[in-house]
């Protein structure tokens, strides 16, 4: 797959040295974002769905803070911040599935598996036993990113991706969790490289410019503590959405939650748990040895719109 530009990384590392000191064994991650706010109607050749103009701002808040922490956001001519444009599944699908797929691509537009850490923001749904996500335009007739379970379209981690955040509805539904792990590797490409963590949502999630800070804090807290904890703590919304007009504090139980889920893999239960509770953006571990086990971090009884109460 893609070979990273070593001199570029070295130059960036030197430039960062004056302001950022990473732990021994840690390095600046390549960080990318893929967000759609302006969806294109099918009548205009797009994949449809309603616009959400504030969505890219939420993902950008995470991406900007990652940059502020010293991580690498791409060369000037190819900043790894992809908003709208020709957002197709080609950036996310694996060449083992289709030879035209480019999840590993380094040149613009860089694929998701070129990144070490990435965030994807778009409408999603429960596509049977896995997450489906709306793209902006079709690629070879396909309008959806499909990840996990019975879908073999997208397999990440065989190149570089370690941490994926899905700012997308139903990206980590309770009934689809078991199948996520099998797409956190592509053993046909690499027998040793794997993703470390996949973070998403059970049920529907919410969009607002007032939520930008949640994404910024996710990036920030993922340096002082575990990424899983940063995701779940900052993205959880306790009974504060979809409330009846008389019940803004949920005293009468009318409100809904937003339900983040953090997900790690490992060769054993203790291994997966250890990774989930300790790995940070500035303290990454070696790749997991297998996808045999997975562990999750979540809020008990989380009850979102669009799904039943979280029950893994």
């Amino acid at each position: 797959m893609g070979t990273r530009n070593t001199w570029l990384l070295t130059a960036k590392a030197l430039a960062l040295a004056a302001t950022v000191t990473f732990a021994p064994g840690a390095w600046a991650l390549y960080v990318g974002m893929y967000a759609i706010g302006d969806f294109v109607p099918g009548s205009s050749g797009g994949c449809g769905s309603d616009d959400r103009p504030s969505w890219p701002g939420m993902a950008t808040a995470w991406w900007n803070e990652m940059g502020a922490k010293g991580h690498y956001q791409g060369p000037a001519a190819n900043q790894y911040r992809y908003v709208d444009g020709n957002m197709t599944v080609r950036r996310f699908c694996d060449p083992q599935f289709d030879a035209d797929c480019r999840d590993y691509q380094s040149s613009s537009p860089s694929g998701v598996d070129w990144m070490d850490a990435a965030i994807i923001a778009t409408h999603g749904w429960d596509d049977g036993d896995h997450w489906g996500a709306v793209m902006r335009y079709p690629f070879e007739g396909e309008c959806a990113l499909r990840y996990g379970g019975s879908s073999t379209q997208s397999r990440w981690g065989d190149s570089y991706l370690m941490f994926a955040h899905a700012s997308s509805c139903q990206s980590a539904d309770d009934d689809n969790l078991n199948g996520i792990r099998f797409r956190m590797q592509d053993t046909a490409s690499s027998s040793t490289r794997r993703m470390h963590q996949f973070d998403g949502f059970h049920g529907l999630m919410w969009i607002s410019s007032s939520f930008n800070n949640d994404y910024k804090e996710t990036a920030k807290d993922g340096h002082s503590g575990p990424i899983s904890y940063a995701w779940v703590t900052n993205q959880f919304k306790n009974n504060s959405l979809d409330c009846a007009g008389y019940d803004p504090f949920n005293w009468f139980g009318t409100c809904s939650d937003q339900c983040p889920v953090a997900y790690s893999i490992g060769t054993s239960g203790p291994d997966a748990q250890w990774r989930l509770l300790n790995e940070r953006y500035n303290l990454t571990f070696t790749d997991p040895g297998s996808v045999n086990y997975y562990w999750i971090l979540y809020y008990e009884g989380c009850n979102p719109v669009g799904e039943t109460t979280f029950n893994p």
């Binding site: 732990a23 969806f39 099918g42 309603d50 959400r52 103009p53 599944v89 599935f97 289709d98 035209d100 409408h123 749904w125 429960d126 049977g128 709306v134 007739g141 396909e142 959806a144 499909r146 379209q153 509805c169 009934d175 969790l177 078991n178 529907l204 999630m205 919410w206 969009i207 607002s208 575990p226 703590t233 306790n238 009974n239 959405l241 979809d242 409330c243 009846a244 007009g245 008389y246 803004p248 504090f249 949920n250 005293w251 009468f252 054993s268 239960g269 997966a272 748990q273 250890w274 500035n282 303290l283 086990y293 997975y294 562990w295 809020y299 008990e300 719109v305 669009g306 799904e307 893994p312």
Partner: protein, 378 residues
């Protein structure tokens, strides 16, 4: 073989469903249609001009406690959280202004340990200008060099009621937040509404669990208390069989407990809220103007479908440097789907707009007047 081409039929079905309209959502072809949908769902008290005006009048007269700038003592918080007199705030804490004369919205920090290392680390951060209303404490244990022998983890021992009580006492007694004297705050005014008898306590468990073939029972590793800022209405607003007695304001707090006690906290956006002397209930927007404004804005934002719309009045703010001018507002939620959708219903959301949308709209017409909070070069 081009595998993607085999996906076409499914995609076509999805697009057909999208074009045909979702079974869960109503589609809008115009702002007028959205407006009509909105009128069916907006609570009557918001559509009644007289009631809305009275509500705005009440919101402009809510009791506001002393701001954190007057009640938060960083040294007290540091002593309580670190238990160590050697931890001191960073040296740039005194630089509270920017070169262009505005207040620096950044944080002042006090920490122990190396954030980038493997060892234990704790950090208290708080707004340099506390009018911005942010306080955060993070804490981590040393990172083990290899996986543990077992997955056993200790759980917090507090009940929900004990956690809620302890959290409020810490927020009021240590951080100086407006919990009322009952919880150790420096004054009686409380900006933290308590649930009525039988109401749900805002306390949740954070769990960790092994899944798949290695499935384990869930382990609660944190108990978390969620606090929302709120202000009482002098005269409750009847809403169907219920009454609206409090309205939310800008600011929230969470306090986390693990088996050793407080393991983290975050106070966010608890602004120094001020009344705008130039604003009165006479500035309240008419129902027609409000509905038209919201419908036009949502439609222009691209909202073309919704399963429901929800309306919650709240006190928002117009940020002016380190203070927030109180602004009566309504929060509108575009709800894309129902609760408790079954699997078939969820698959029916394919290619639909599933991301819920939250936006706020002022209930009053803003006019020229107050210059409160505006920076003035020396």
């Amino acid at each position: 073989m081009n595998a993607l081409k085999h996906a076409l039929p499914a995609t076509a079905v999805g697009l057909f469903l999208a074009a045909a309209g979702s079974v869960h959502a109503v589609n809008f072809q115009s702002a007028r249609e959205l407006s009509a949908f909105m009128k069916e769902r907006m609570p009557p008290f918001l559509q009644n001009d007289e009631q809305r005006k009275r509500l705005v009048g009440q919101m402009l007269r809510v009791p506001i406690a002393r701001p954190l700038a007057q009640t938060f003592d960083p040294n007290k918080a540091i002593k309580e959280l670190f238990g160590d007199g050697s931890v001191i705030p960073s040296t740039d804490c005194r630089r509270t202004g920017t070169p262009v004369g505005e207040r620096d919205p950044g944080d002042c920090t006090a920490s122990i340990g190396d954030e980038n290392g493997r060892g234990a680390f704790s950090r208290l951060s708080y707004s340099k200008s506390l009018g911005f209303g942010n306080i955060k404490f993070v804490k981590r244990s040393p990172v083990p060099t290899q996986p543990p022998a077992t997955t056993d983890l200790p759980s917090p021992k507090l009940t929900d009621a004990e956690a809620f009580d302890t959290a409020l006492k810490f927020l009021g007694g240590v951080l100086g937040m407006p919990t009322g004297r009952k919880y150790g705050a420096p004054e009686d005014i409380s900006e933290i509404p308590l649930p009525p008898a039988g109401g749900k306590l805002p306390v949740r468990n954070m769990n960790i669990q092994g899944g798949g073939d290695g499935r384990t029972n869930p382990i609660t590793i944190q108990k978390v208390v969620f606090v929302k800022r709120g202000f009482p209405l002098a005269s409750p607003i009847p809403v169907g069989n219920f009454q609206l007695t409090y309205v939310p304001g800008p600011g929230s707090a969470i306090v986390m407990f693990d088996s050793n006690g407080i393991s983290g906290l975050a106070v966010e956006d608890w602004q120094d809220l001020r009344l705008d002397p130039t604003m009165s209930e006479e500035d309240t927007k008419s129902a027609d103007a409000l509905i038209e404004e919201i419908a036009e804005d949502l439609f222009n934002d691209g909202v073309r479908s919704a399963e429901d719309l929800k309306f919650n009045v709240l006190i928002s703010s117009e940020q002016r440097n380190q203070i927030g001018l109180l602004l009566p507002a309504v929060q509108v939620s575009v709800v894309p789907a129902r609760k408790n959708l079954d699997e078939k219903g969820q698959e029916g959301l394919a290619f639909q707009a599933t991301g819920g949308l939250v936006k706020e709209y002022s209930l009053v017409n803003r006019k020229e007047g107050s210059n409160a909070g505006r920076p003035r070069p020396e």
